[in-house]
Point group: C2
């Protein structure tokens, strides 16, 4: 069994977060879950917090040293939730990470949930930078209106921004002895899969057709587990696609004129 | 301890390959090493073969079922070795993988050593395709002369081609129940590090300056170990940078005009 580590995990009550919680506990680690919902007895500690309310984050008491921070909480695209999506999927990730940074021990690891939906971050870099120029505590409503962002674009942007924010901090965090990586799944068999299939329509169903199935939460959690572990000591600044080859397959088809 | 698996590993006698051998054995797996040099008692079986001589590959007898194939053998840039670099780093990877494909069991994994040096595969896609259009058994000398390829370009191209060849096979291999991924280190503290520092000059020393040190062979081998394992069951078509953040840091600097 690996050395016991203390892991702070958002979104640990369901989906990919719950699968990660199960793996961390099976490895013998101590896990603090931050979630609106009760993660049950698997967690060593539950901090009830609504990550769409950034003011609830500073309420977190000073915690013991943290070896890994896994930002797994996230909202799918839903009409009317544009601002909440940007708050939970990006702004809360940034605010919580910065808030906990002094507690992360050298050798520590930050793992953020991104998505295949965030894969066009290079093309959308200018808009991502405008979004990231907001203070993490700033309400994104004005930005959403000014840039005419719909729920699907809000979701994609939220994940693009998580990826870019990670890249922008690789050197700074390395100086602190910390690593930061992202994991990008495509469709995953979680309670919010229906939301994605409805919002993304053919784009999502075509992906599942190509790979033959949706990913399982445990399969995504295994990548999180690896990145959070000391075994990934030289892996930082990566965005690891965990999508059954969907991203690779589509990029190769585009490059060879097959799409 | 994980279920015992049979792993075929090229280049297991030194450097990253030897580090991977040590990890696989620590996990209790059976490892067949293909190398010119004796990997020592750590390997369960040593097949002595020169991967620059593709005709030696069909000599391999039918082997028992294989759970993972790790193509770790590789040559650094050295004057006069252009053809050998393309043969060992790319053509042998393709020939050996195709040769062993019928023996790889569903759920199996192929892991190829790429490199940060192969990271410009998108920009060089046309030349990569011309190289990959050669039969794996075809002598690349004429191609090297026609395209005026020097040792550094030969090395970069060999790794670009490994990445692209992997992408081109994601769907085909998935239909066989197989995954294929690449690992891309930057500078690594192996016996051939001096070759890279000499050949790449400032490009290599600047990278080590940015990340503070070279990677350790074991750190690269840990990524190989993860990709070769059933834990990475939904990871295929990836090229995982294991470079202390060098790729991310440089890309972000370029995108923001910092370089």
């Amino acid at each position: 069994m690996a050395e016991q580590r203390h892991i702070v995990l958002t979104g640990g009550a369901s989906g990919i977060g719950a699968a990660a919680l199960a793996l961390f506990k099976a490895d013998g680690h101590r896990v603090t879950v931050i979630d609106r919902n009760d993660p049950g007895s698997a967690a060593d500690r539950w901090i009830s917090a609504d990550l769409s309310d950034l003011w609830s984050i500073p309420m977190l008491e000073p915690v013991s040293r943290i070896d890994a921070l896994v930002n797994a909480a996230g909202l799918p695209p839903r009409p009317g939730l544009e601002a909440t999506i940007l708050r939970v999927n990006t702004q809360a990730v940034i605010a919580l990470t910065e808030h906990l940074l002094p507690h992360l021990t050298p050798g520590g690891s930050i793992v953020n949930m991104a998505s295949k939906a965030g894969g066009r971050w290079r093309s959308n870099f200018a808009q991502v930078q405008r979004f990231l120029a907001l203070r993490p505590s700033e309400d994104p409503e004005a930005f959403i209106r000014a840039e005419a962002i719909d729920p699907v674009r809000a979701y994609d942007l939220s994940k693009e921004a998580v990826i870019v924010w990670g890249l922008s901090n690789v050197a700074r965090f390395r100086d602190l002895g910390l690593r930061i990586n992202a994991v990008s799944p495509a469709a995953v068999a979680t309670p919010i899969l229906d939301d994605f299939m409805t919002a993304f329509g053919e784009r999502a169903s075509r992906g599942v057709d190509l790979t033959g199935r949706a990913g399982q939460p445990d399969e995504i959690a295994q990548v999180i587990r690896f990145l959070a572990s000391p075994e990934a000591s030289w892996v930082t600044g990566c965005n690891i696609e965990c999508d059954g080859g969907l991203t690779a397959q589509i990029e190769y088809a585009v490059l060879t004129g097959g799409v």
